[in-house]
């Protein structure tokens, strides 16, 4: 009986991994690094986590949870509330409908897929922010941010894969 309970706790803990990793990615993205220009372009770590988990284990990262994470990011980040939630949910929607296409494809295909999602998310974010504040913001930092994400995607994907195999296989 006690073993059963322990097993359940263990399983629950493991199932919280995608959520935990995504939250951690959000916080890491907020830590100030005294590198010139870093504050302007934050690597979209959260989007990478979302991309990975929605394709591999969407059952462990529900849309409503993603919505809440986006909300948290907006509250802490000072961005218009709901903006990140919307972008993340749009990405989720796109990925969950295209999931079968991505599963079992080569890594290069995944990478191209992420590039499309990252650039798309950047564009949506930029448009929403422009609408909200009624200013045409310089689009370059947003694009650089997306491209930086694309460049760092293999590293993050490798890390997530290690975690995935270690705790959830």
């Amino acid at each position: 009986m006690a073993g059963g309970l322990f097993h359940q706790l263990d399983q629950t803990g493991r199932n919280l991994l995608p959520l935990g990793v995504t939250l951690l990615a959000m916080l890491v993205g907020m830590v100030p690094l005294p590198l010139p220009g870093y504050a302007m372009v934050t690597v979209p770590l959260m989007l990478m986590c979302l991309f990975y988990w929605v394709i591999h284990r969407p059952d462990l990262l529900r849309p409503l949870v993603v919505f809440a994470i986006g909300l948290l990011q907006d509250l802490i980040g000072g961005t218009p509330i709901g903006m990140t939630s919307m972008v993340l949910i749009l990405a989720y929607w796109l990925l969950i409908t295209q999931r079968r296409f991505f599963l079992g494809r080569s890594f290069v295909m995944l990478w191209i897929g992420f590039a499309l999602v990252a650039v798309g998310a950047a564009a949506v974010q930029w448009a929403v922010f422009a609408l909200m504040t009624a200013t045409m913001l310089d689009g370059r930092p947003v694009l650089v941010q997306a491209l930086l994400g694309v460049a760092l995607f293999p590293l993050m994907a490798w890390l997530l894969q290690r975690l995935h195999r270690a705790y959830l296989s």
Binding site: M30, P34, T42, P63, I89
Partner: protein, 292 residues
């Protein structure tokens, strides 16, 4: 959602649940849009939520930012090792120059004091300073704010000026119990009345999310010389006059811009300055809801 229950509640609820399932994502997106609207209209409630959440997260960020700061320090150390010799020579020269200035400053200080005593001049109340660590710059490409580890318990109030060693950094826009948010001078919403040092020309420093904020509301025929220093003018009561802000430069688009004296990309510690009567709530009333 298969169910074997055939109660009337289920018979009605099931199609509704089916609809919800089907339109799950559109509904969530609508919810997000609704939130944006609410945030736009009712900014005080959102502001309170922000304060609570930031307060809750800032200790976590505080812990997390320490290793990052150490790594950055180490990198900086090795970078400095490379040009140690040149740096040393430069500092020697600067030191010699500053010693001359020190003499000049001491002489002027004495003269100033004697003149003030003649005029029975009433000096401004001395400012009190609270120093905080910068633990987060969470805005990404859209918002220029930082979160610092001082809050209401240390006497921080909305509207107070925030300085780093060299110059003005921004102002406090949100205060929690032990955390506060600083709107940097480069943010889209930042507007600071400034005055140019030698021409005494007044202007408004307007952030546009780029590294170098714009100098706006200058008279059309005014001559702005690059290299001129910019100070807060104290108009509008937001900031006390005379805080150093930056140096004028000609932007790539020909518009006058200001290079902030403080290196905003490497903020580690900042000083929140309480000047007593100026700033604070009265100034906030003239510029409400700068951050929505």
């Amino acid at each position: 959602m298969k169910t074997r229950n055939s109660g009337s509640v289920v018979r009605i609820a099931a199609p509704v649940w089916g609809m919800v399932q089907r339109f799950y994502f559109p509904l969530l997106i609508l919810a997000a849009i609704a939130l944006m609207m609410i945030g736009h209209v009712n900014s005080t409630a959102v502001e309170q939520a922000r304060t609570r959440v930031t307060d809750a997260v800032s200790p976590v960020l505080n812990v997390m930012s320490r290793p990052a700061a150490s790594v950055a320090d180490a990198l900086e150390y090795f970078r400095q090792l490379v040009d140690l010799h040149d740096e040393n020579a430069r500092l020697r020269e600067e030191n010699a120059r500053l010693r001359q200035w020190e003499q000049a400053a001491l002489r002027m200080d004495a003269e100033n004091r004697s003149l003030r005593s003649l005029l029975s001049f009433k000096p401004d109340p001395a400012a009190t300073v609270v120093t905080g660590r910068v633990v987060g710059d969470p805005g990404g490409a859209f918002v220029r704010t930082v979160v610092v580890t001082v809050g209401e318990r240390e006497g921080v109030e909305r509207g107070q000026a925030v300085m780093s060693g060299q110059g003005l950094v921004g102002r406090i826009v949100q205060v929690g119990d032990w955390s506060a948010r600083v709107l940097l001078v480069t943010d889209l919403n930042a507007r600071i009345p400034v005055v140019l040092e030698s021409s005494r020309q007044r202007a408004m420093l307007a952030g546009d999310n780029s590294d170098h904020p714009l100098l706006t509301y200058l008279p059309p025929n005014s001559e702005v010389r690059p290299g001129e220093r910019v100070f807060t003018s104290g108009h509008g009561g937001l900031f006390p006059p005379g805080l150093p802000v930056g140096i004028v430069e000609k932007g790539a688009d020909g518009k006058p811009r200001v290079v902030p004296m403080a290196d905003l990309s490497r903020l580690e510690h900042v000083q929140v300055i309480d000047f007593g009567t100026t700033g604070g709530v009265a100034a906030e009333a003239t510029l409400p809801g700068a951050m929505k």
